[in-house]
C-alpha cells in the first residue's frame, strides 16, 4: 500500500469495492486488476483532490477500468462487446457485498491453503508479498497459488449465501498461524472475523471472535524473554490483556444466550474459564470438563477428547485423567505429552521423564520441542526449570 493514502481506509475499502464489481458480473481476476488500477489512480489523484466519498470514487473508477479492459480484451478477440450490455451500475450495497466476498474466498472448491491465501488477498487486502512472508514461501509461489485460486472461483456464481462454517474454518486457520515476518496473522484474523461479525448475525461467528480475543489476550504471557513457551499454569496473569478478555467474554455471553451452541462457542467457553481464574489453582476445572463434554458431543474430535483428559486430570485427579487417556489412540498428536504430564502429577517421575523425551521427539514445532525437552531435563536432573 502506498504511504500517501490512509492504509487502514484503503484496506477496508478494497474488498468492498472488489465485491461490488464481482457482484455486477465482473470476472474475479479482472475485477481485482481493475481495483488495483483504481487504487493506483487514487494515489495520483487523491492528494490534490480528495474525494468526498472514497468508496464511491473507487467503485466508479474501478468499474470504468474494468469496462475498458473488457472492451479491449473482446476487441482483441474480435468478439461482440458484451460488457456494454451489462446493466448500469445500481445502488451500492455494502455489508452484504463483503459477506458475499467472504463466501467466495472460502468456497469449498478451494483447498484450505488456497482459501486462506485468497481471503487474505481479496478480503484482507494484504499484498502477495506480505502473504508470502507470513507463510514463509517464495513470493512467486504465493502469487501462483493466489492466481490459481482466482481462476477456480472465477466461474462461481453464488446466488444464495454459502455456509458460514466454511468461512469460519478459513479464519480459524489464519488465526492459528500466529505471526512470522512482519504480518501479524492473528491480529489480521481478528480484524476479518470482527468485520464478518458485523456483516452476518450468527452465534458461531461470535463464538470464533470471542475465542480469538481470549487467546490473543494471553499472547504476550505465552512466551518467555528467551522465546521459550510458558504453559498456561505458569503464565504471569498480570500480563494478560484484560480489555481483550472482557470483550471476548461479553461477546461469548451474548452468543451463548441465544442457545445455539457450536464448537467455537464451546472452545471459547473453555478459554473464558481460564481467563476468569485469578490464579491457575482457582481454575474451575469441573466446568471446563463439562464444556469439553459438549465439544466432544458436537465434534467427536479426538483432540477435544485429549484436552478433556487433561481437564479430567485436574478436576478429578491424575488417575482419573490417565483412565480417560487410556481410551484414546496413543498415535494422537500430543498424546505422550499429556501422558507425561499426568504421570508426573501422579508421582511417577521416571515414566514421566521418559514420556517427555518421547513427546519432544514427536513435537510438531520447535518451541514445543524445546519446552518438552526441558521438562524431561528437569525430571532427569532434579532441576526446577
Amino acid at each position: 500500500m502506498t504511504p500517501s493514502l490512509d492504509e487502514a481506509l484503503v484496506r477496508s475499502l478494497t474488498p468492498r469495492v472488489l465485491a461490488v464489481l464481482v457482484r455486477r458480473g465482473a470476472d474475479f481476476a479482472a475485477a481485482e486488476d481493475a481495483v488495483q488500477d483504481a487504487l493506483a489512480e487514487a494515489v495520483r489523484a487523491w492528494p490534490t483532490d480528495p474525494p468526498k466519498d472514497p468508496k464511491g470514487w473507487l467503485i466508479t473508477v474501478a468499474w470504468r477500468r474494468f469496462l475498458d479492459a473488457a472492451r479491449s480484451d473482446t476487441a482483441r478477440r474480435r468478439r461482440e462487446d458484451r460488457a456494454d450490455e451489462e446493466p448500469a451500475p445500481g445502488p451500492v450495497p455494502s455489508a452484504d457485498d463483503t459477506l458475499w466476498l467472504y463466501f467466495l474466498c472460502a468456497h469449498p472448491s478451494l483447498s484450505p491453503s488456497s482459501a486462506v491465501a485468497l481471503t487474505l488477498r481479496a478480503v484482507g487486502g494484504l499484498t502477495t508479498r506480505q502473504i508470502a512472508q507470513a507463510y514463509l514461501v517464495p513470493e512467486a509461489t504465493m502469487a501462483q497459488r493466489i492466481s490459481r485460486a482466482k481462476r477456480t472461483v472465477s466461474g462461481v456464481r453464488l446466488d444464495r449465501p454459502g455456509d458460514v462454517a466454511t468461512v469460519l474454518r478459513v479464519l480459524y486457520l489464519v488465526f492459528n498461524e500466529g505471526y512470522s515476518g512482519d504480518v501479524d496473522l492473528a491480529a489480521e484474523a481478528i480484524r476479518l472475523t470482527r468485520q464478518l461479525a458485523a456483516a452476518v448475525d450468527h452465534p458461531e461467528v461470535s463464538g470464533l471472535l470471542a475465542l480469538m480475543l481470549l487467546h490473543h489476550a494471553r499472547r504476550d504471557a505465552r512466551t518467555g524473554p528467551d522465546g521459550t513457551l510458558v504453559p498456561l499454569a505458569e503464565q504471569d496473569r498480570s500480563r494478560w490483556d484484560t480489555r481483550s478478555i472482557a470483550e471476548g467474554i461479553g461477546i461469548l455471553q451474548a452468543a451463548l444466550a441465544r442457545d445455539r451452541l457450536g464448537e467455537f462457542q464451546a472452545q471459547a467457553a473453555v478459554a473464558a474459564l481460564h481467563a476468569d481464574a485469578p490464579t491457575a489453582e482457582e481454575t474451575d476445572w469441573v466446568q471446563i470438563v463439562e464444556w469439553y463434554d459438549e465439544l466432544v458431543r458436537l465434534t467427536g474430535s479426538p483432540v477435544a477428547r485429549l484436552n478433556r483428559a487433561v481437564a479430567v486430570g485436574e478436576a478429578d485427579g491424575p488417575q482419573a485423567g490417565l483412565a480417560a487417556l487410556a481410551e484414546l489412540d496413543p498415535a494422537l498428536p500430543r498424546h505422550s505429552a499429556v501422558a507425561a504430564h499426568l504421570h508426573e502429577r501422579a508421582g511417577d517421575l521416571s515414566t514421566a521423564a521418559r514420556l517427555y523425551t518421547e513427546a519432544a521427539l514427536k513435537a510438531p514445532n520447535l518451541p514445543e520441542r524445546v519446552h518438552l525437552t526441558r521438562q524431561a531435563a528437569r525430571l532427569n536432573t532434579g532441576g526446577d526449570g
Binding site: G227, T228, T357, V370, A376, A377, G383
Partner: protein, 135 residues
C-alpha cells in the same frame, strides 16, 4: 561467494566430545543451547551470510513409485537407519575457510555442563550454475 549446506545429524555423525543427550542436561543448559543457536543465526543474518535454516522431525517415510495407476509405496520409518538428518543451515560465504570457521562455531554450541558439545557437523558445498566465462 559460495553456498554451503551445514548438516546436523540425529544419527550417523561420529560421536561428539561432550556426548550427553539433551534430555539429561539441566533445563538451564537446554535454554543456553537454544539461545546460542538463535544468536548464531541472527549474527549470520547481520553479516549477510545466512540463507536458510530448518529443523526436521526425526521420523520420516520412504516413498517410491510403484508403476502406472498404482499409489506410491511407502515404508518406514526404519529405526535402524544409520544416517538421520536433524536439520540444516545454508550459508553463503566468501571462501571454504570461512565456511569451516562458521561450522566450527556452530559445533561449539554449549551442552551438558555448559561446555561445548564439539558436535561433528557435515559441510557440503552446493553445485553452482555454469559460469558465463568458461575458457
Amino acid at each position: 561467494m559460495a553456498k554451503y549446506l551445514l548438516l546436523k545429524h540425529y544419527r550417523g555423525a561420529p560421536d561428539a566430545v561432550n556426548n550427553v543427550p539433551m534430555d539429561r542436561w539441566t533445563p538451564e543448559e537446554v535454554s543456553a543451547h537454544i539461545q546460542y543457536m538463535n544468536d548464531f543465526a541472527a549474527r549470520l543474518e547481520k553479516t549477510g551470510e545466512f540463507v536458510d535454516g530448518q529443523a526436521l522431525a526425526p521420523e520420516g517415510t520412504w516413498v517410491r513409485y510403484d508403476g502406472e495407476g498404482r499409489p506410491p509405496v511407502t515404508d518406514g520409518p526404519f529405526a535402524e537407519t544409520k544416517d538421520l538428518i536433524a536439520g540444516w543451515m545454508v550459508i553463503d560465504v566468501d571462501s571454504y575457510d570461512r565456511a569451516v570457521e562458521l561450522a566450527g562455531e556452530l559445533s561449539a554450541a554449549p551442552g551438558a555442563g555448559g561446555k561445548p558439545i564439539h558436535e561433528w557437523l557435515e559441510l557440503r558445498p552446493f553445485l553452482y550454475a555454469a559460469p558465463t566465462i568458461t575458457e
